[in-house]
């Protein structure tokens, strides 16, 4: 059957089971949007206020569902507006396929209107990207692109299509997803990797070595990293931790990979890690890192990290092994499969003395109440007991991000959506939109700070347009809190450009978009506002005023030893 490139693209999305696309139309991608008009009943398109919001929404959709997110944008500024969103997805290994169109073949390379080399720009922040010149390459490339985005270590893929390729007609034959690996580029790629569609088994000798190390260890510690979340290995990890009888420290990206209420969890690890987690790293004799790349925010000083321990790294990406911290043993494979093989091989251990030592340190920071003022801990506690247990939380970046990671207890993968690797302020509202679209029955909270919120609050327009009951909670301290905290502790209280003396009226802003809002100063008012927000059925903004000097505790300075707490 002969179809235009634009229709072939949409047919290929249907082959992948895509039913939702986030995006923003424009000149060069018009053929695709024109074709989309005929696919309205099969593909829902969510138009955001800005391409960056669309990129974060597709990312939030991917993180919360585990499926591949899809995002459309036009050439030039449309494409470059995606860049922060692509980098965010790349750093956190989130599978998103970005589709941009470029000017036609007759105009390319002539600095034409809205022309940009987006494949060049995104080369270091995509798993793989493509420039499609003609319609006859399109189906093959889209099939490979989706496979690459979701396979192995997931990540973003960008497909840039010249406008002429979307207009040209060429032969298209439907190919079910299960057969994609038998044809074209994908078949060649898999052939080169010398294995078939079934994922290769992790090396059994490597597994046995780790099982042996576990048998010998007296002070084992497990780190639950983002790989456990991406690999949805939470059930296997729960069994594994219980059998090894080891404390589990959770990274920001690992939140939800291990039940936050499980008595074995020591809470967060690293720069803002709990005392229990960081002290355990220092004292353990076996450290099992699952899907964790020992970033500078976790390992801090790689030279002194877990010095007493045999470090074992389990990762799906071989190039992560020994990248940041030198390990003694590694297993390359899917963490879900690795853990289930390990669970078959290990017996029940008992490490009571070691656990008693680790849990003699606090797993969460206690904050004193300071008079009338609302505290971050109060906000977290009220949300935790008022919102449904399976509430999805999307955050921006800064103090609020760490507070909600430390004090909410995440029960399942995809419950916390946060930009852990790239640290993109303005990620949260877009991500919340993606999560709400894919989980209409779940409560979705967008937790933000007044600084982050101002970056992409334009997406309130999307919340209002699609009538999405997303609740935004602003930790409003009228300053860029995390940067100010560093200025307080490290830069002699020279508050250069952090305090925001005059904030917009966030309640009026919400009302301007047709949403509700309330400004609160104390715990009782916050609880009342949250209850109203949970039942009102539309978007709601709670401007929660907190003290300007509230700090994230504990804190270890970047590059310092992990137990060298600057703040406790």
């Amino acid at each position: 059957m002969k179809l235009t490139g634009a229709r072939i693209l949409l047919e290929c999305l249907l082959e992948q089971g895509v039913d939702t696309v986030f995006g923003y139309p424009g000149g060069t991608i018009l053929n695709v949007y024109d074709a989309l008009y005929d696919y309205r009943d099969k593909i829902t398109h969510i138009r955001t206020a800005h391409e960056q919001g669309a990129a974060h929404a597709a990312d939030g959709y991917a993180r919360s569902t585990g499926k591949v997110g899809v995002c459309f944008a036009t050439s030039g500024p449309g494409a470059t507006n995606l860049v922060t969103g692509i980098a965010t997805a790349y750093m956190d290994s989130s599978p998103v396929v970005f589709i941009t169109c470029n000017v036609g073949e007759n105009l390319i390379g002539r600095d034409s209107f809205q022309e940009v080399d987006i494949t060049g720009i995104t080369m270091p922040i995509t798993k793989c990207n493509y420039l499609v010149r003609h319609a006859d390459q399109l189906a093959d490339i889209v099939r490979e692109g989706f496979a690459i985005a979701r396979s192995g270590r997931p990540g973003p893929v960008l497909i840039d299509i010249l406008k002429n390729a979307t207009a040209e007609e060429t032969e298209y034959a439907f190919l079910p997803r299960e057969k994609h690996h038998t044809r074209g580029r994908l078949a060649a790629l898999i052939g080169r990797a010398s294995h078939d569609m079934t994922a290769p088994e992790p090396d059994i000798e490597d597994i046995d070595t780790l099982a042996h190390l576990i048998g010998e260890a007296e002070r084992p510690l497990i780190i639950c990293g983002g790989g456990v979340v991406r690999g949805r290995a939470h059930e296997e990890l729960a069994e594994f931790a219980q059998k090894v009888d080891a404390p589990v420290a959770i990274t920001v990206m690992g939140a939800g990979g291990f039940n936050g209420r499980n008595p074995l969890t020591t809470g967060m690890i690293g720069m803002h890690g709990s005392q229990a987690s960081n002290m355990a790293v220092d004292a353990c004799d076996l450290l099992i890192a699952l899907g964790c790349r020992f970033s500078d925010r976790v390992a801090l000083n790689p030279a002194t990290f877990a010095k007493q321990a045999v470090i074992v790294q389990v990762d799906i990406d071989r190039s992560e092994i020994n990248k940041n911290v030198q390990t003694s043993h590694h297993i390359v494979g899917d963490v879900k499969r690795v853990l289930s093989l390990l669970n078959e091989r290990i017996g029940q251990k008992d490490n009571k003395a070691w656990k008693d030592y680790v849990f003699s340190f606090p797993t969460e920071t206690e904050y004193e109440l300071t008079g009338e003022a609302l505290t971050p801990k109060q906000i977290s506690d009220i949300v935790a007991r008022t919102a449904p247990w399976d509430t999805i939380v999307a955050t921006d970046v800064g103090q609020h991000q760490i507070w909600v990671t430390q004090h909410f207890h995440y029960d399942y993968p995809g419950q916390l959506l946060t930009s852990g690797g790239f640290g993109s302020m303005g990620f949260g509202l877009g991500a919340a939109i993606g999560a709400k679209i894919s989980h209409p029955d779940k409560t979705v909270l967008h937790i933000t700070g007044d600084g982050s919120f101002r970056m992409n609050c334009n997406e309130l327009a999307t919340v209002a347009y699609y009538d999405l009951p997303i609740i935004t909670i602003i930790f409003d301290n009228r300053t860029l809190g995390m940067v100010r905290q560093w200025q307080t502790l490290i830069y002699n209280q020279r508050y250069c450009e952090t305090d925001i003396k005059k904030e917009p009226d966030f309640v009026k802003l919400a009302e301007a978009y047709g949403l509700s809002g309330r400004r609160v100063n104390n715990a009782a008012d916050f609880e009342a506002a949250l209850k109203e927000a949970l039942t009102c059925g539309h978007g709601y903004v709670i401007d929660a005023v907190i003290d300007v000097d509230e700090k994230v505790r504990p804190m270890v300075n970047g590059g310092d030893h992990i137990t060298q707490f600057l703040l406790n």
Binding site: M123, I190, A193, A199, S319
Partner: protein, 184 residues
Amino acid sequence: MRKNRYTLAVLVDNESGVLSQVSRLFSRKGYNIESLAVGTTDTPTVSRITIEVMAEDDARARLLCNQLRKLFPVHSVKLLDSSHSIRRELVLIKVKAGTTEARSEIIQIANIFRGSVIDVAPTSLTIAVIGEEAKTDAIETLLEKHGILELVRTGVVALERGAYTIDDDTKEKGEFNYGKVAFS
């Protein structure tokens, strides 16, 4: 900090954009490429890139290989051990040769280095020499007094000695493919 020279052999898809993807990886990881040579292999769809780079130690060089292996157009990467590999470079040198004495001396030097004269003009000679840097640097120094008009190097190409090849199946290679395409 003292750095060592490492030679990397890389097999890649013979497609546009691949070379820039490979070379950009070095700059973004903070390394400067000392020498780079590319050409197709016995399989026309596959090119072989030989890259020489200065790195702090073996571990850093291996990390660079790991990052390269992660790129989709890259088929295989091998860090070549200098004591077990042959490295060669072709240098073309255009030298001033206006007088008969200069001419005969240049030809003599070329012969000693088993180079060949590939172009003769009234006032110049062009010499081609193949070898490792020690040899090509030496002839360059000897010809300098005659006045070098132009000089071009192909960049080093290298192969392992013996029957070993870049495609030798190692456990490591399998591990890298897992991260790229672990379909399930």
